[in-house]
Symmetry: C2
Subunit: 129 residues, 2 copies
DNA sequence: CCTTGACTTAGAGTCTACTCCATGGTGTAA
DNA sequence: TTACACCATGGAGTAGACTCTAAGTCAAGG
């Protein structure tokens, strides 16, 4: 699979894909004789995971640490789990904060609706009289 | 209320408070004869709102636009509401994405628990034999 | 009076995560 | 075979949101 195809499939720019590879988040990706990347199934799975974790706002350096632990094999299971648990907590907290913000937004929007209603009523009055 | 007290109350650094004022997100804050800021009740309410919107990941420039509309008064009600509605949609989408990430994290953590269990069992076997 | 600690300013610096650029090679359809 | 879109590299540049620094002012306590 070419970098363009991967880019389209996962909605990550080709620049981003190369950047992720450079910093060690994915790959190294195998290349054909003329140096062009050929993404394999396992690469795609890594990319999907990375994308998901990035959407969970996991910072790049933490993700890199996770990937490095992964490469070290079985003895790092506990550490890797720990990283994910930490991230889970962060995600839960963020969801809570967003929910709070959401409520406030809804409340304010309601207020605006009310104010707009009043404004329109008074304009109508003006027009009628 | 001094900048330090506000900083403690809202968990925003004094630098950040001054920065918000500089870019026009809050204030201008009134100052005493020797030039020291004195935050009033209305400032605190603005700060609380700004903090909430920032936690909702509303970009600074959008917030500034909102604040400017607010200062223009009644005729901008519709526009302001529009900004908030947009932001609400963004927040809802982000919550969804975080929920997705959360599920994936939970799933992976479960897998790790299982793998760790297996590992410990086999270690126990080794010890016993 | 002097020190200490909190306050002020303007402006430079930092961090994260990309994103863009210049330059040059590749592959395939007409 | 030439045009075209795509690929590569290293390194510079950007956006957003702070964060820090230097240099100075001010009020209170010892």
């Amino acid at each position: 699979m070419t970098i363009k195809e991967v880019s389209d499939k996962y909605q990550l720019s080709t620049d981003t894909l190369r950047y992720y590879e450079k910093v060690g988040l994915i790959g190294p990706i195998s290349k054909n004789k003329s140096g062009i990347r050929d993404y394999k199934e396992v690469d795609l799975r890594t990319i999907a995971f990375v994308k998901c974790m990035r959407q969970a706002n996991m910072p790049i350096d933490k993700l890199i640490r996770y990937m490095n632990l992964y490469k070290e094999g079985n003895k790092t299971l506990e550490d890797r789990k720990q990283l994910l648990v930490e991230q889970l907590h962060k995600v839960e907290k963020e969801i809570q904060e967003l929910e709070k913000a959401k409520e406030r937004l809804c409340y304010k929007i309601d207020l605006y609706d009310y104010q707009l209603l009043e404004k329109n009523l008074s304009m109508e009055k003006e027009t009628v009289l």
